[in-house]
């Protein structure tokens, strides 16, 4: 079977960054300690996942499920903002965004 590279502290930190989850050092250590054995256990899938086997992404195969172009289900601004941590002028207020304009 194919051997996947082991997942170290740096990898966990990078994944946490990619997934936008702040982890404590203790959490990083703990996950780094677990992930190799979990991934080893699941990597067995590659033993049988050969070229000739097609992938199944939906358990029940269907195609062409559409909706008509008709307005429905709309929320009011009040409903939309009711659960917002912060709102201003009918908009969601979010912290300072750095990066692209």
């Amino acid at each position: 079977m194919c051997l996947m590279p082991s997942i170290g502290r740096d990898d966990v930190a990078r994944l946490a960054d990619l997934a936008r989850i702040q982890l404590t050092d203790e959490e990083i250590d703990r996950f780094a300690g677990e992930f190799d054995s979990i991934m080893d256990a699941v990597a067995s899938v590659s033993e049988v996942a050969t070229e000739d086997v097609p992938a199944t992404s939906h358990p029940i195969a269907m195609t062409n499920v559409f909706r008509e172009d008709v307005v429905e289900n709309t929320l009011t601004q009040e409903q939309a903002l009711a659960g917002a941590p912060d709102a201003q002028d009918g908009r969601f207020a979010v912290p300072q965004i750095l990066g692209e304009e």
């Binding site: 960054d17 992404s57 939906h58 195609t63 559409f66 909706r67 172009d69 289900n73 979010v94 750095l98």
Partner: protein
């Protein structure tokens, strides 16, 4: 700051003389459907913030997407108009990255299986040269919400203390059209880029799939530019300038990037593959966010949607219903109207083609229709700073007006007065002429009196005419037109004068 900020721009013509530019353009068009791509929220431009939304377009927990049938049809229309193949089977994927304008922190898009692929479109340049642009793919996806930056000096992201987000635009259906590398444009690269986007814009409008207003962001272009030493060399590293929103900005972006990249290469540095931003004020581009984790979008097939498999019957039905496309129409009208290439291009650029065509359809000659729309009406539009189609006059009214001129009911000068009255909402041309008594006076009893008066007032002119200088008649006609407030039938006046003076 990277060293690239110190780079000296190379003069554009010089850059072109030493480098071969290659373009690549990604155009996003917002479809003019009634609702969004994956939910029943209205797809409207101006609304109170966060009112054109449903649980789905707000990305609320539990909400699910369902594909808008109309949006798929529009995507296929676009694909067919761009000579693409339409996939027998395609699917949506999730493009994952965190950003506050994305309600789910992924964009539902098409990745490895676009609905349209492998097409082309011919782009006509100013001088009539035609460049064929190869299309790599056209795929369906959804738009993001809109951030307003607060607390900074200029409403820009930099220096802002926080942002406000409106998700009315989130989930609006988009089709993204991606070209293959566009080679061999040489010094015309800026013009080609703008003309390509303009061509697409016109096609979207003809297909009636989008209002395609650049200024509203209905059509947005990402401009990729790279340089290579010569047309045989491998492609150079490209930069992608995002969201360039006007034809002029597109030209300036390409120009600037060619000069800048030439400067970087001359300095012995490498072009960095990055996204850049165009600045209207300086005409330059600047480096965007350096690519780090944004590169790893973790695409995977959207498990909440099933594949789209347009039947061949449906595709052919759509193909059969495609309207005449702008290029074909242009060719047809050119033949029918007998315009020069220049007249045609001017009419297109002024957005007058539809108006002229309707005016002609209402019975006016093509040249007369052109004269009105490209002459007097274009002048009025400029004065009012508006578009021709926004003027308060219809092609039918123009045709009626020209009909009055052709029937000698009024002359050109009066026609302009009548037009002014039409534009100010006083009614249709014939009614105005009637009501205000503007019809040409050709009643000899009225005209003879005026002629007699003019002959009596201008003995020296009379002498000249009788002495053989027939062209001096104009000096008599002027006062007569004045006396009749311009309504006299100038031809008849001339005849009467000549009779009275016995010349011929």
């Amino acid at each position: 700051m990277s060293a690239a900020t110190d780079i000296e721009l190379v003069d554009y013509d010089e850059a072109i003389s030493r480098f071969d530019p290659v373009l690549g353009i990604e155009v996003h068009v917002e479809l003019g459907t009634a609702t969004k791509m994956f939910d029943g929220a209205p797809n409207i431009f101006a609304a109170e913030p966060n009112t054109a939304i449903t649980p789905t377009s707000l990305g609320l927990p539990g909400a699910l997407p369902v594909v808008n049938h109309k949006a798929v049809e529009y995507a296929i229309r676009i694909g067919l108009a761009l000579n693409c193949s339409i996939a027998e089977n395609c699917r949506f994927s999730r493009k994952q990255y965190f950003y506050p304008d994305l309600t789910k922190n992924f964009q539902t898009s098409q990745y490895d299986e676009p609905i349209c692929y492998e097409g082309w479109v011919d782009v006509e340049l100013e001088d009539g040269e035609i460049i064929r642009v190869e299309i790599e793919r056209a795929h369906m996806e959804e738009d993001a919400g809109k951030n307003t930056h607060v607390g900074g000096s200029t409403g820009r992201i930099h220096g802002a203390t926080h942002s406000q987000v409106d998700y009315n635009r989130a989930g609006v259906p988009l089709v993204e059209i991606v070209t293959k590398p566009i080679p061999n444009t040489k010094g015309r690269a800026p013009e080609v880029a703008a003309a390509y986007v303009r061509t697409l814009r016109d096609i979207f409008r003809a297909l009636d799939v989008s209002e395609a207003k650049m200024e509203r962001g209905n059509v947005r272009a990402d401009i990729n530019v790279s340089l290579r030493e010569n047309p045989e060399a491998e492609l150079g590293t490209r930069t992608e300038t995002k969201n360039v929103n006007s034809f002029r900005s597109i030209e300036r972006t390409v120009r600037y990037e060619i000069s800048r990249q030439a400067g970087v290469l001359d300095a012995g540095e490498k072009i960095i593959q990055e996204t850049r931003h165009f600045h209207e004020d300086t005409g330059g581009t600047s480096s965007g966010r350096p690519k780090s984790d944004a590169e790893d979008y973790r695409y995977f097939p959207e498990p909440d949607l099933v594949p789209v498999a347009p039947s061949r019957e449906w595709v052919e039905e759509i193909r059969g219903s495609l309207p005449e496309l702008p290029a074909a129409r242009r060719r047809r009208l050119l033949g029918e109207w007998g315009f020069t290439d220049l007249e045609m291009r001017d009419a297109i650029n002024a957005g007058a083609l539809d108006l002229i065509e309707s005016t002609v359809a209402a019975g006016t000659s093509a040249q007369s229709a052109r004269k009105w729309w490209m002459g007097e009406l274009a002048r009025v539009a400029r004065e009012q700073d508006s578009e021709l189609e926004e003027l308060a006059v219809t092609p039918a009214q123009i045709a009626e007006l020209q009909g009055l001129v052709d029937g000698k009911k009024i002359n050109d000068k009066i026609a302009k007065q009548v037009l002014t009255k039409v534009l100010s909402g006083q009614g249709d041309p014939a009614a105005i002429v009637e009501k205000d008594g503007l019809a040409v006076v050709s009643d000899d009893s009225v005209l003879t009196g005026a002629v007699d008066q003019a002959i009596a007032d201008n003995p020296d002119v009379v002498a000249k005419i009788q002495g053989g200088k027939i062209q001096a008649i104009g000096a008599l006609i002027g006062p007569i037109m004045k006396a009749t407030r311009g309504q006299a039938d100038a031809g008849r006046v001339r005849e009467i004068i000549m009779e009275k003076l016995g010349v011929s």
